[in-house]
Each structure stands twice: as structure tokens, then as C-alpha cells.
């Protein structure tokens, strides 16, 4: 069921491209001598990030955009392994081993150093890098990922022990191979006053930071002091292009070598891939769901919530909103991660008979709800599906005898969300529930958690490759913060706490599966999808990607 690393490759020139080229040539005869922007070639890798950088300080960087650069210019003890399965490989560490639940011994390679004359990388640098993140005075926003750290014990110039307060499984999947695992130069940071902003003070990876042109691009160049496998490119230019369609045009114009493309463009690109390009589809870790605010009196009735769960038809959403390029999800934990469930409790397809029965049992009438949405346009296919669903819904409404049931769904303003909300609107109309779509732009939407009157919400959270990260937002303590459904379950909270330190992977897997069952049993969640990451790239490069399709630039090669 899961599309894993599906690739379409096109090489050379086919008939269509020959004709395209011929007509372009005919047009261009009027302007002989006009310079042409050929595909980004040679030793420069031109790629794209969807946002501008925020911080080059691992204590303050806020996600993948910063980490894509930090991952290339800083070293970690371990790095994510490129490929289709989540795993790690040694980086700055020559060896690393878990001595017991709370002690991890490491030895650094002897050829690691920092640029700008900051010398060899030592265990003191590791200690400084990790301990500053949990330092109260620094106020690092990434502290939760290092929350289990007690201290780092330096046992030699290049050896040490990471001492944890308690066993912490995400250490191997988030803490060490992701943002907080970046090792910085103690001397360089202390000279800079303890923290930096957007300009790195010393690099240690295969690349170093050359320049940052705000709102335009970041340029990396090979680190001359790097002793590992030589950097493949003379320059990596990472352009800030927030719009995926603009990035696609830039790729087709030959100005990018690698970019993520929109799900809506996948079919078009499969049919008409630019020459010498490959389209690769990867599963994503993001999770999308419809949440129901348990504290809202309109949604107190569990039968009504279960009816809503049963009425939402996920395959219709996959077809219309995701253009068939994503798969339905079974929970908040994506395939390939510990805790993923093969099936959800409520199923994927709408079960209108069950939904109608539950509605009847709920005894609800005059329910009106609002779904909040992030605001963008809808496509024709979706409109047709909605129309079809409405016809069915009208018929069922007449049969059910229900009236005046209406809810509001809150949604972030992106076309995919609007389409999904409208399908949900149509689905729920079929069981006699009227849904009002409430569209929000980003900053307004992300503040909705505090709104106690919230009804339905179409939500999407990012994810790191450990289930602990997913469950952390739904514990009771997070109610009204990031737990917008105000789901409160003591067993769930206990699982979240215990599973962090559970070293038996089979047991851990079962714990997280149970956690998702609890979420679903509450009737507050209908899981939609994990989305997908389609990338397009030139055949002249060999991209190194995480299993979720995100780039690891330090490992990119030329073909």
C-alpha cells in the first residue's frame, strides 16, 4: 500500500522533447546570440528550501530548514543514514555504545576540527554543545529533545560519556542525529558570547558557510580543513523559494538541480518529465487529522463523535486533495517507525450505515459545528466529488429524519486543506451534520489551540523519526496548548512517559499502538494521511535523502 521511493526517470530526448526543442529553436532564431540558462551544471548544486533560515545555532534552530544547512556544516556523533529505512551511521564518533540505560560512551575521530583556527574537535566541545541546550539560562527552544540529559562526562581528550537522568530511546532517533546533536566549537561560541544568530562562527563538516543573502539564498562551499570524503560540489546554493509551483518553474527553467514538488504536479511530471530528470516519491512523516474539541458542549456526546469518525471518507480526500499521491494513515505514527499501526479502529472508507446508526443512538439534533481551515482555492475534481457526495447526502438526510445539525471546522488556508474540509463537509452532510468551513491564515490558525469554543479542526503536525515526538503533543498537560482536542487520558499519559525509556522495542511498539487506539477510542480523532514527499532532480546528481525524502546535502554526489 505504501509508495516507497517510486522513481520515474527520463533520459535523453524523446519525440515530444524534440518537437518542443524544435519549436523553441524556431522562436529563438529571432534572437541569435541570446544567452541561455542551461541546467545548473558543473560543480554547483542548486537546490531549494521552502523558508529562509532562522538560526545557525543548534539551540535555537526551528526545524528542517536550518538543519539542512547545519547538517552539512556541523558534525554530529551520529548522522541519519540516507536510504529508505530509518537508521544512523557514525559521523564525528569513531565509536559509540550504550553501556547501560543511562550511559553512552563515545570516542571522537582524531581528524575532526573546526574552521577559522578553532582547532581539533574534543570531548569538551561535545559536552559544551549538549549541556548548553539544557542550560536554563540559555533558554533553548530545543531543550525537550535533550530533556533526558544529565551531563556529559569528559574522560579523555576525545572520549566521553553521555549521562542521562533516565533511559531515553529518542536519543538515537532524534537527540543525537538531528538538530540538538550538532557539535559546535566551545571556543568559537564562547568568543561569540555564548550564542549565535545566522552566521556560523566555525564549521566542522564537509561544507562551510560562505554567505547568506536574506530572502534569497544560502551558499555553502567545501571546508578546506575537512579530512573525510571530499565534498562533491564546489558550491551548494540553497535558494529560498516558498512557493512549490515557483520552484517547479525554476527547475524546468534549469535553475535548480533538486527540489520538492507539489503533490498536484506529480501526475503532470510523471507524464511529462523534464529531460535528464528523475521524479522520486517518498512517504512523509507529517500527520493530518480531523480533531474534535472534547470540551465543547456540542461534541460531548461520544456517539456523535463516533458518527463523525465513521462518516469521513478518507479515500475521497486522497483522490481529490492529494491527487492520489498520498496514502491514508492509521494514526499519528507513520509506517517505518516504531508504534505504527497497520489498521485504524475506525477504518478508512466512510461507513454511512454505521454513522447513521451512531447518530440515531446519540439522540443529537440541532448540532451545528465549525471546521477551521487555512484559506486557498479548490480544484475541479474535488468540486465534482463534493457534488456527488452532496447528492448522496441529500438522499440520506431525507431518510435519517435528522435536522439542524451543524458544526464548524477550522482549517489552515492551503488548497489541500480547503478541499479536504469541503469533502468532510459533504461527508457529514450525509449523516445530517451541517459543517461550516472556517478558514484561517497561518498565524491565526496556530493560535486556535487556546480557543475553548473550537469545534472541529483539520490539523497537520510535523514529525521527527521517533513516536515519542508524536505523542508528546497529546498528553493532558498539553490540553489547550498543542492538544487542541483537550484529550485527557491517564493511560495515554503513562504510555507516553514510560515508552520514552522502554528499551524492549517490541514492547515499545505495542505501547505506541495502544496510545493511538486510546486516541481513536475517545472519538476525538479521525486520521487522514501522512502525505508524501515528491522530489525531482537532475540525473547528473545522486541525492542522499532521508526515508521521508528530506535532503542530507553533505552526502549528495555527482553522477
Amino acid at each position: 500500500m505504501l509508495k516507497n521511493n517510486i522513481e520515474w526517470t527520463k533520459t535523453g530526448i524523446d519525440r515530444r522533447h524534440f518537437l518542443k526543442g524544435a519549436s523553441a529553436l524556431a522562436l529563438s532564431t529571432a534572437a541569435v546570440g541570446m544567452p541561455q540558462f542551461a541546467n545548473a551544471a558543473g560543480n554547483v548544486l542548486k537546490t531549494r528550501s521552502y523558508a529562509d533560515i532562522r538560526s545557525m545555532d543548534p539551540a535555537f534552530s526551528q526545524g528542517v530548514v536550518d538543519e539542512e544547512i547545519q547538517g552539512a556544516i556541523y558534525n554530529k556523533l551520529i548522522q541519519f543514514k540516507p536510504g529508505s529505512e530509518w537508521g544512523w551511521q557514525l559521523d564525528a564518533a569513531a565509536s559509540i555504545e550504550q553501556a547501560d540505560d543511562t550511559h553512552i560512551n563515545f570516542a571522537l575521530r582524531d581528524d575532526m576540527g573546526f574552521t577559522n583556527g578553532f582547532g581539533a574537535m574534543t570531548a569538551e566541545d561535545v559536552k559544551y554543545s549538549f549541556e548548553r541546550i539544557i542550560d536554563e539560562k540559555l533558554e533553548s527552544t530545543n531543550k525537550p529533545d535533550m530533556s533526558a540529559l544529565d551531563h556529559v562526562e569528559v574522560t579523555g581528550e576525545r572520549t566521553g560519556t553521555i549521562v542521562l537522568k533516565n533511559a531515553f530511546q529518542p536519543l538515537w532517533s532524534i537527540t543525537l542525529p538531528y538538530i540538538t546533536g550538532n557539535i559546535i566549537s566551545k571556543k568559537a561560541f564562547e568568543q561569540a558570547g555564548g550564542k549565535i544568530q545566522t552566521k556560523p562562527v566555525a564549521s566542522s563538516g564537509p561544507y562551510m558557510h560562505k554567505s547568506w543573502e536574506p530572502k534569497q539564498k544560502t551558499t555553502l562551499v567545501p571546508n578546506p580543513d575537512w579530512k573525510g570524503e571530499a565534498a562533491a560540489f564546489d558550491e551548494i546554493q540553497i535558494f529560498h523559494i516558498d512557493d512549490e509551483k515557483a520552484a517547479e518553474i525554476a527547475y524546468e527553467a534549469g535553475q535548480l538541480d533538486f527540489t520538492r514538488v507539489s503533490l498536484g504536479s506529480v501526475e503532470r511530471l510523471k507524464a511529462n518529465l523534464p529531460a535528464n530528470s528523475t521524479l522520486a516519491e517518498f512517504p512523509s512523516l507529517f500527520y493530518v487529522w480531523v480533531g474534535m474539541n472534547l470540551d465543547n458542549p456540542k461534541l460531548k456526546n461520544i456517539k456523535l463523535r463516533q458518527a463523525i469518525q465513521a462518516a469521513i471518507d478518507v479515500p475521497s480526500i486522497m483522490a481529490a486533495s492529494y491527487f492520489g499521491a498520498a496514502e491514508p494513515s492509521t494514526g499519528i505514527i507513520a509506517p517505518g517507525l516504531s508504534g505504527h499501526r497497520d489498521q485504524s479502529l475506525t477504518g478508512i472508507k466512510a461507513n454511512l450505515e454505521k454513522a447513521k446508526k451512531l447518530m440515531a443512538e446519540s439522540g443529537e439534533s440541532n448540532v451545528s459545528l465549525k471546521i477551521s481551515v487555512l484559506n486557498k482555492s479548490v480544484n475541479v475534481t474535488t468540486a465534482q466529488i463534493i457534488q456527488a457526495n452532496l447528492e448522496k447526502a441529500k438522499k440520506l438526510m431525507a431518510e435519517s429524519g435528522e435536522s439542524n445539525v451543524s458544526l464548524k471546522i477550522s482549517v489552515l488556508n492551503k488548497s489541500v486543506n480547503v478541499t479536504t474540509a469541503q469533502i468532510i463537509q459533504a461527508n457529514l452532510a450525509a449523516i445530517g451534520v451541517t459543517v461550516e468551513v472556517d478558514l484561517h491564515e497561518g498565524a491565526t490558525f496556530w493560535g486556535l489551540g487556546e480557543d475553548k469554543t473550537l469545534e472541529l479542526v483539520l490539523n497537520r503536525y510535523s514529525m521527527t523519526p521517533d513516536p515519542y515526538y508524536a505523542t508528546s503533543w497529546f498528553i493532558t498537560e498539553q490540553a489547550g496548548v498543542w492538544n487542541w482536542e483537550r484529550f485527557a487520558n491517564a493511560e495515554f499519559d503513562k504510555i507516553h512517559k514510560d515508552a520514552q525509556s522502554e528499551s524492549d522495542l517490541v514492547k515499545r511498539d505495542a505501547m505506541y499502538q495502544r496510545a493511538q487506539d486510546l486516541m481513536e477510542e475517545s472519538g476525538a480523532y479521525k486520521f487522514i494521511t501522512h502525505e508524501a514527499t515528491p522530489n525531482v532532480y537532475r540525473n547528473t546528481i545522486v541525492p542522499a535523502l532521508r526515508p521521508d525524502g528530506l535532503p542530507l546535502y553533505r552526502y549528495f554526489k555527482k553522477d
Binding site: K20, A24, L27, S28, A31, M34, P35, Q36, F37, A38, D52, R54, S55, Q62, G63, E139, T141, N142, K143, P144, Q197, T198, S211, E213, P214, K215, Q216, K217, F239, H240, I241, D242, D243, A246, I249, A250, E252, A253, G254, Q255, L256, E441, G442, A443, T444, W446, G447, E450, W473, W482
Partner: protein, 314 residues
């Protein structure tokens, strides 16, 4: 004339203060939590409180406005909460890109539009005049975003003559000019038609006036009459329109900067509004207002210089 200039500058200062105050209020009234947006999901309550204090959001709105203007007079527009950089540095980093885009767009549009307008007026009802009329109305009707997308697809994707994204390498002027071609075409094109129609209408009015007839009767050369006497008067409404047009070009630049992934003030405003980055929003808005007010004031002053009746009338 000096008195007139001072009067105009005073008015410009009042307009700027009122506009910026209004925008300050609007920005703070729109829903959305800047602290959550800026700090992300992992922020502790202590961190949120500290940032709120640092941004001055814990103070009443009137105090925030007074503080903004007081700091502004000292040249301090605050710091970007994400990067910690000074807002003035951020805005001055982006401003040249937008100014270059607007200036190049309006310059080429004015040169072509005025030439076309003069030609049409002098050759009234000729085939050339009619063709120029059709062309002008056609380009006025095409929105800038349509020109942006089609010029991108044709000249960048298909023909690969011009770049699709960016503003060129810093310090490389030819490269930066090359990157300006398509964006300035996109936002300048409709102005060609607009200016051409305006100049044609003004020229026809002036060419029918008594002093022009007298000049013709004295046997002065046609080009001398057209460009020295008629155009000088006919250009006055165009100068005013170009001055006001700078403001419209600023808003057109927002879209163009997004489509062409160019840095600039427009993109900065959009990004900072969506992240509720108040200091950067206010810094960008202040400079956008200044550009608009400065261009309209400059147009008024040029008008007064060209036509003494204007300054006497005011």
C-alpha cells in the same frame, strides 16, 4: 517655491505619521499569536513571557505606538525576533531590490509610453495611432501576475533566455540587470499602455490650444512645437500619475517578488505579517509608506516647477 516645498514636506510628514499609526493599529488588531509563531511549539511559558517583554507586547497599545515613534526618531526600529538582526539592517538589505525593480519598471514604461503617446497624438487617427491604441488598451487590461507567469513560462522555461528566480549575484551588475528584465517587464507593461493613453489625450488637448496654433503660424518646426512646447505641458498629469503609480508598483512588486522568488520589501512584508514579526512588519511598512509619500511629494514639486500655476493655486 521654497515655501511651497516646505508646505509639501510638512504635509508628507503628517501623512506618514498618520499612515504608520493606522497600520500599527491594524497589525496589532489582527488575530494571531506572534509569540507562538516565533518560538514554535517547544517554548516554555517563561520563554514566552520573556519574549513578550522583549517585544514590548506586555505594554498597552498607546504606549507601544509612542515607543515605536520615539525609537524611530533615534533610528532604532528594533530587532528581528528570529534572527536578532536590526530591523533597519534587514529593511535596508531588501530595499534596494524593490527600489531597483520599481525604478526600472516605471522608467522603461515611461520612456516607451511617452514616445507612443506623442506619436499617437501627432499622427492622430493614422493606422499607427490606431495600432498604438489597441496595443495600449490590451496591455492595460492584462494584470501583472498574468504577465509574470506567461513571461516566466516563455522566456525562462521554454526559451531559457532569462532567469526564473533570484536577483542575481551580489556585486555582479550585469547579472542583476539580467535578473530584472522579466520582473520589470511584468509590472511595467500595463503602465506603458496607461501612460501612452494619458500622454496622447493631454497632447491632443495642448496641441489644440492657441499658443501652439500661433507657433505653427510662425512656421516653427513640427518637432520643436511637439517636444518643446506641447509635451512640456502635456507631461504634467503624467508626472502626477507616475508619482502615485509608485505606490501601486509597490503592491505589484509584492506579487512579482513572490513569483520570481526575488528578495525585496514586498516579500519581506508578506513573510513578516504571516509570522507576526511585528518589528519587521513595522519597519517594512514605514519604508513602504515613505516611498509612497516621497514619490507623490516629488511629483507635486516637479509639477510646481514645470507649471507655476500649480504652486500659486496651492
Amino acid at each position: 517655491m521654497i515655501g511651497y516645498i516646505f508646505k509639501r514636506l510638512g504635509l508628507a510628514a503628517i501623512i506618514t505619521v498618520l499612515a504608520v499609526t493606522l497600520l500599527f493599529l491594524i497589525i496589532h488588531m489582527i488575530p494571531g499569536d506572534p509569540i507562538t509563531t516565533m518560538l514554535g511549539p517547544r517554548a516554555t511559558p517563561e520563554l514566552r513571557a520573556a519574549l513578550e517583554e522583549r517585544m514590548g507586547l506586555d505594554k498597552p497599545l498607546p504606549i507601544q505606538i509612542v515607543l515605536f515613534f520615539t525609537n524611530m526618531l533615534r533610528g532604532d526600529l528594533g530587532t528581528d525576533v528570529f534572527s536578532g538582526r536590526a530591523v533597519t539592517a534587514i529593511v535596508f538589505g531588501q530595499l534596494p531590490y524593490t527600489l531597483a525593480l520599481i525604478f526600472v519598471s516605471i522608467t522603461w514604461a515611461a520612456i516607451l509610453g511617452i514616445t507612443l503617446g506623442c506619436y499617437s497624438a501627432v499622427n492622430r487617427n493614422s493606422l499607427g495611432d490606431r495600432l498604438a491604441g489597441i496595443l495600449s488598451v490590451s496591455v492595460i487590461a492584462v494584470p501583472a501576475f498574468v504577465v509574470s507567469l506567461y513571461s516566466l513560462l516563455l522566456f525562462a522555461v521554454k526559451l531559457k533566455w532569462f532567469p526564473a528566480i533570484g536577483a542575481g549575484e551580489p556585486g555582479n551588475l550585469p547579472d542583476q540587470i539580467w535578473h530584472l528584465v522579466l520582473p520589470s517587464l511584468a509590472i511595467g507593461l500595463s503602465w506603458v499602455g496607461y501612460i501612452a493613453r494619458l500622454v496622447r489625450a493631454s497632447m491632443l488637448e495642448v496641441l489644440g490650444e492657441g499658443h501652439i496654433r500661433t507657433a505653427r503660424a510662425f512656421g516653427l518646426p513640427k518637432s520643436w512645437i511637439t517636444y518643446k512646447y506641447a509635451l512640456r505641458l502635456a507631461i504634467l498629469p503624467t508626472v502626477t500619475v507616475i508619482g502615485v503609480g509608485m505606490g501601486f508598483l509597490l503592491s505589484a512588486a509584492v506579487f512579482t517578488e513572490i513569483v520570481f522568488s526575488r528578495p525585496g520589501l514586498g516579500k519581506l512584508v508578506i513573510d513578516s505579517i504571516t509570522t507576526r514579526n511585528y518589528p519587521v512588519v513595522m519597519g517594512s511598512v514605514l519604508f513602504s509608506t515613505l516611498i509612497f509619500v516621497a514619490s507623490t511629494t516629488l511629483a507635486d514639486i516637479i509639477n510646481a516647477l514645470l507649471d507655476p500655476r500649480t504652486r500659486k493655486g496651492s
